[in-house]
Symmetry: C2
DNA sequence: TTTTCAGTGGATAAGCGTTTTCAATCATTA
DNA sequence: TAATGATTGAAAACGCTTATCCACTGAAAA
């Protein structure tokens, strides 16, 4: 935890930003909830438990800054709010979204390199990133359905 | 055009909805701009050229209804608005999104069936749909950059 | 030390896309 | 014709996000 925070502090200071107490708390919350893909509002609620004086605007500003620095990624699962996840090295992972319980499962893949190469030559499209979402039913919901 | 409209009328009436003049005009506009992936606002502006009295709420309501009937698909390229495309048979296609000019190129694929099967067994996740977006630079922007 | 100044944060208003409300209209049926 | 229900348009409300305002902080300059 402290290691990660020090790393983030360095990445902030490279661009002359400071790891203020608010940013520290937001990052801490993101680390602690790394599998949750929380929305801004959810982060705000979590952060307020530890510092009730923090403002919603600060949360939004911090998330924006962290995204610009590449520390955080913005996700887009449903249409009415943005969700966030910490950057996790260069492991390319994508999401399985359960249509019933809305749970989000991550999965890693290396199978798409070929497809990228194909697109590159076929469409003259220079691929720099991709986002894949699979929709379906997770193990839990499938079991519940069988009952 | 008229063929398609008749087909849509049938699909509406199956669920006891009517092809009103507003819905007809919206569908007509969607057919005419089938490669544009227009947003609700853009559809509204297009539709108003032919019927200046149509309301924005009607456009939103019609788009919602057409999505529910599967005639239309909601897309999610940028965060601040939804875009729409007519359902086009069972051709599974995805999108290449140019980061420079924001142009959206469609591409078809059959290469993902294997990946779905893999996910199915590995994660016990029952995949029913997937959405893939590749981000990069289109042929035009690549050429412009070379100059 | 005092002053200055950029960076930051909190409260709140504003912005923007979307949804809801409500009265009016239209089509269909009795 | 009267009644009923679906649909519409205008405007208000809504929810998430961004911008504005002013106060505070902490470091550099005078």
């Amino acid at each position: 935890m402290e290691d990660k925070l020090r790393e983030y502090e360095e990445r902030l200071s490279e661009k002359n930003f400071k790891l203020t107490s608010q940013r520290r708390l937001i990052l801490k919350t993101l680390i602690e909830n790394i599998n949750e893909h929380p929305s801004a509002e959810e982060i705000y609620q979590l952060v307020r438990k530890q510092n009730p004086h923090i403002g919603l605007a600060t949360v939004y500003r911090s998330l924006e800054l962290l995204c610009e620095l590449g520390i955080l990624h913005e996700l887009n699962f449903d249409n009415n709010c943005r969700r966030y996840e910490l950057e996790q090295g260069d492991k390319h992972h994508h999401h399985l979204i359960c249509l019933k319980c809305r749970k989000i499962v991550e999965f890693n893949d290396d199978m798409l390199k070929n497809l990228e190469d194909h697109i590159q030559s076929q469409y003259e499209f220079d691929v720099v990133d991709h986002r894949i979402k699979f929709y379906g039913y997770c193990a839990d919901c499938r079991k519940a359905q069988d009952k």
